[in-house]
Symmetry: C3
Subunit: 138 residues, 3 copies
C-alpha cells in the first residue's frame, strides 16, 4: 500500500471566500504514484470546509447569500459561542458545506464527473489555515 | 489490495426524485471480493446526492418539502447561477444532502445499522446522470 | 493491509445530546496498529450523526438551537414520517450534521488540526444505539 500526506496552506484575505484546489490535489495524486485508491481532502480547521461543486462565479455568490440566510453572522450576540469569539456562524456554515470529501482514484487520476471541482471554503479568514490531503492505495 | 470501480446510471423522469441503490451496491461489494475495506459511493454530478437514510415513503416526502423550504427552486431569478441555468437550487439541495457516503465492508458485506439504506438523490433530473462506486480493501 | 472494526454503544438520557468520542477513537487507532491509513466513524442509526467540530459548550448549545430552527421537532404533525413515529426531525437534523467522518491516520495517530474533536450527535435518544469505527491501512 502506498500513501501520501500533505498539508495545503491558505490565507484568505476576507472573512469568507472560496479557493479552487482541484489542480493542486490532482498534482498530489500524480506525485503519490497511487493508481487505484482513495483521496481524502479535509479542512483541518473547524470554521472551514472542503467541498465539491461547480466552478461558476454565480453559484459561489449564491452560496455566500444562502449560507448567510441559514446561519447569519450577525448579530454576534445571538450565539453563546461568541462569548469570547465572533465566529459561531462560521462553525455552522462549515457544517452545512461539510468538513471533507473522499474522491476515488482510478488509473492514477481523480475519478470525477464532468463538472466536479474541489473547493476550500473559508468562513473565518484573515489568518493562516490548513487543509489536508491523504491518499492511500496501490 | 483489491479494488473495484463501477458507474451507476440514472434517468429520473422528474426534476427531483430518490432511488434506493442499496441492493446494487451490495452486489458490487460481493463482486469485488473485498472482505475488509471501504466502499465509497458518490454522485458524479453536482446537482445530485448520495446519502444514507430510511427507506420510508413519508420521510422521503418530508425531505422534498424540507429541502424546498431551505433552498427553494423558485423564483429562479433569486439565484445568480441562473443566468443561463435554472438549477441553482439543485446545487444547494445536494449540498445539504451530501455528495457521498463511505461505508465499511466487514466479512464481505456492507456493515450497516438496522435501517441504513443508500439513496441516489436527484435534484435536476430528466437526463442521464451517473454515480460511482469505488471499493478498496482485501 | 490491516483493519479494525469496533462498535461504540450509547444511551443518551435525553432526546438530544452530544458525546465527545475523540479519545475512544484515538485508542482504537492505537489498538489497530495502523500507521498510515483511514479511519471511518459513522452513526449506524439514521437519527444520529458523527461529526467533527469544537469541544466548546457554547457552540454545542448553538447547534441545538440552530438545528431546532432549521428542522423543528414540533408540531409532530408537520411531517408525514410521523404517522407511526415522532422522530422525523431527528432524520433531518442528522442530515445537516452528517452521518460520518473520515479521518487520516499518519504515523499511527489521528491526523487532526488544532481543535478538531469527534462527536456522536444524538437526535432521538433514550435508547441504546451504536456508532462504528472502521480502520484500514498499514
Amino acid at each position: 500500500m502506498k500513501s501520501l500526506t500533505e498539508h495545503l496552506w491558505f490565507e484568505v484575505p476576507h472573512r469568507r471566500g472560496f479557493v479552487n484546489i482541484t489542480d493542486t490535489v490532482a498534482r498530489l495524486v500524480k506525485k503519490s504514484g497511487v493508481k487505484e485508491g482513495l483521496c481524502l481532502v479535509n479542512a483541518m480547521h473547524i470554521t472551514a470546509s472542503v467541498f465539491i461543486n461547480d466552478n461558476e462565479s454565480g453559484l459561489l455568490h449564491d452560496y455566500e447569500t444562502w449560507l448567510e440566510r441559514l446561519a447569519p453572522e450577525k448579530p454576534h450576540s445571538q450565539y453563546r459561542h461568541n462569548g469570547g469569539e465572533d465566529n459561531a456562524d462560521a462553525h455552522l456554515k462549515r457544517t452545512i458545506m461539510g468538513r471533507e470529501v473522499v474522491v476515488a482514484i482510478t488509473e492514477g487520476k481523480l475519478d470525477f464527473g464532468p463538472w466536479e471541482q474541489i473547493f476550500y471554503g473559508e468562513f473565518d479568514g484573515k489568518r493562516r489555515k490548513r487543509a489536508m490531503v491523504k491518499i492511500i492505495g496501490e
